[in-house]
Subunit: 144 residues, 4 copies
């Protein structure tokens, strides 16, 4: 199983809503369980350079099934795996990437958010995860 | 001026609707006038390998302001610019990438579609352009 | 809006003048708001290897809208975003890249300078920003 | 000997003047005898995707000391060197790149122009070469 188009729409809509609420335009990426991009949007005014970071956060979380900030443990001074973050063409090891799991806990993809302070990125990614966990919005975010 | 988040949403929603109508799941990319990705979606069941093509079609059309298939003239046997399609890290010179212009004709971005026969890719990209030219849907495609 | 050819000429002319005044030949790059190169010059005697740095400083400042040295906060020991400087194909986080904004504060591009001590790079980039803020020279720097 | 900053300014000013005269905004690149970028400008309205082509035309002409279109002989059907144009990370083998030689015929760099039809690119590059051969303008194009 991999994250669906509908789930990606729900995740992005929830993230955009949260980003708008806190007044920080964000880049939001959804990757599937193959670590390939499923959906992406760069909100108006979001940092252009944060697009790469949002995508890489989602890719990193999809590759390992952990929150991106959890991976910092491996590379921090004294960590077990120095240079781990330079594998896979470069990984992101700070917050904003969160894996997406289905009802049985299976990894189906990941969300990555970048454009604000790290805590804000995390908050917006978390809003997407919460919306998906709730089964989506009452109304579908797109008419299609 | 660069294509907005709302315009990207409208373009993708129209493309998804057209793709659904013809029964061919598509990859749909929106790039801005700086040839940077603004939005993307890979519909469920769309070829994974067509994601790169859709993105590159949008990038190519944004880089030159022409439909991608028009660029084939430069590289066809006897064309003026052999190897043109290998510039810019590789360009796409078949149909499915269409520039987006504002009311004054200024280039503001481009749409790229891939996942079906080339004629289908073109049809779906054209649907997005038509929706944008019509000023968007009556209702916004997303609640945000 | 994106930085214009005339603004790029003014920025480079002012930077060249400042670099000449302090006797340090420089590489000077101007990027637009899409983080694409608008203009560049390598002054006679400037370090060849500083060309890449000047370009990347301008690109970095255009990608994020901050002075390049401000981004060091994210990656310094104890910073919030370890590895941030390895995103986007590698960023520059020391001084010499400064964003360019229009009269309403909108990001329209960036200047990047490299070839001297970091403080000199900054000084020369700042001279370009000052010239642009002053509305340009009395006379156009080029006859065209 | 390598092309100087002043010569690069003269070449670009002459090219911009010719491009303006024919009404086609161009990307203009000057490379030195080390095949490294010396100067560049993207005129307002010039195709963004032609920046890479102009730079590569100048680089190609600097690498081999021939007009870019002359190199097509090597790779045309029946040519001696199939794939020659894929060496050096990709070369350009259509017109618009012209080597620059000093008074003794020594290669000192090259000009590359892209943004119009191939014949227009050539015309604008040739205007730069002519200006350099004439010893430059009566007046310097920049005050610095």
């Amino acid at each position: 199983m991999s994250i669906t188009h509908l789930q990606a729409d729900i995740a992005i809509a929830a993230a955009v809503r949260e980003a708008t609420a806190i007044g920080v335009p964000m880049n939001i990426a959804v990757y599937d369980d193959g670590a390939n991009m499923k959906a992406f949007v760069r909100m108006d005014g979001a940092f252009l350079g944060s697009a790469d970071i949002a995508q890489n956060k989602a890719r990193t979380a999809a590759l390992f099934g952990f929150n991106t900030e959890a991976l910092y443990e491996f590379v921090k001074p004294g960590g077990t795996s120095p240079g781990f973050d330079r594998t896979n063409g470069g990984l992101i090891v700070f917050a904003g990437g969160i894996p997406v799991r289905d009802g049985e806990g299976r990894l189906i993809g990941a969300i990555g958010v970048s454009g604000g302070a790290v805590a804000q990125d995390y908050q917006v990614a978390e809003a997407a995860i919460t919306a998906l966990a709730a089964g989506g919005f009452q109304e579908q975010p797109q008419a299609n």
